[in-house]
């Protein structure tokens, strides 16, 4: 049964990779990369159960942490052209 779940996750990965290859804008590709990260976390967890090695869950946690940081960094680059940009000013309540 873990095999079926892993197969479903692999099909999802193929579909998401198709979107990453097609995607007209860069944001489509970033979204696809983010979804690939989420599905990869699930796939790592399922493979850990499939092979009876729960150490894979630690890899899944690490991958999940790296995934969101990577997404935010790439987004900041494509928004401002510089990953070290200060960002936008804080919105105050008066405006």
């Amino acid at each position: 049964m873990f095999g079926v779940a892993a197969l479903a996750l692999l099909v999802t990965l193929a579909l998401v990779l198709a979107r990453a290859a097609l995607g007209p804008t860069v944001f489509d590709r970033v979204q696809a990369a983010n979804t690939v990260g989420t599905v990869a976390v699930l796939l790592l967890a399922v493979i850990g159960f499939l092979t009876g090695r729960p150490e894979f869950l630690d890899l899944a946690i690490t991958y999940g942490l790296l995934n969101v940081i990577g997404t935010i960094a790439v987004l900041k680059f494509f928004r401002y052209g510089d990953p070290g940009a200060p960002g936008e000013p804080e919105e105050s309540g008066e405006r």
Binding site: M1, L13, V16, T25, A45, L57, I61, V68, R79
Partner: protein, 109 residues
């Protein structure tokens, strides 16, 4: 009793795989960037939730369940954050929604 838990966790795993595929199909088929993001959130919420719940039932009350729970919490908090940042960046860079009315000025993101 063990059989009941097994059947329940198989059902949850199958449901999780189904919703992951639904999200993937939506990501390919949807016509617009914003609707595609909507489809991808299915994978991030229902797919992750069902698959992790099924694995938790298989693991029982061990450290593995705690790790699975932490993965769930991680995805629960980071996925909406990434989606929000992505949509905001796309709005600022001028990606138009498909059904946006051209006559009105685009709303400020």
């Amino acid at each position: 009793m063990s059989l009941v838990v097994d059947i329940l966790s198989w059902g949850l795993l199958l449901a999780g795989g189904f919703f992951c595929i639904v999200g993937g199909v939506g990501l390919v088929r949807m016509p617009d960037f914003y609707t595609r993001m909507h489809a991808a959130s299915v994978t991030d919420t229902l797919g992750v939730g069902f698959v992790l719940a099924g694995l938790m039932l298989q693991a029982g009350l061990t450290l593995v369940t705690v790790k699975l729970f932490f993965i769930g919490v991680l995805v629960f908090f980071t996925s909406p954050t990434a989606t929000h940042a992505l949509t905001r960046a796309a709005m600022i860079r001028g990606v138009e929604p498909l059904l946006a009315d051209d006559k009105e000025a685009p709303s400020k993101p």
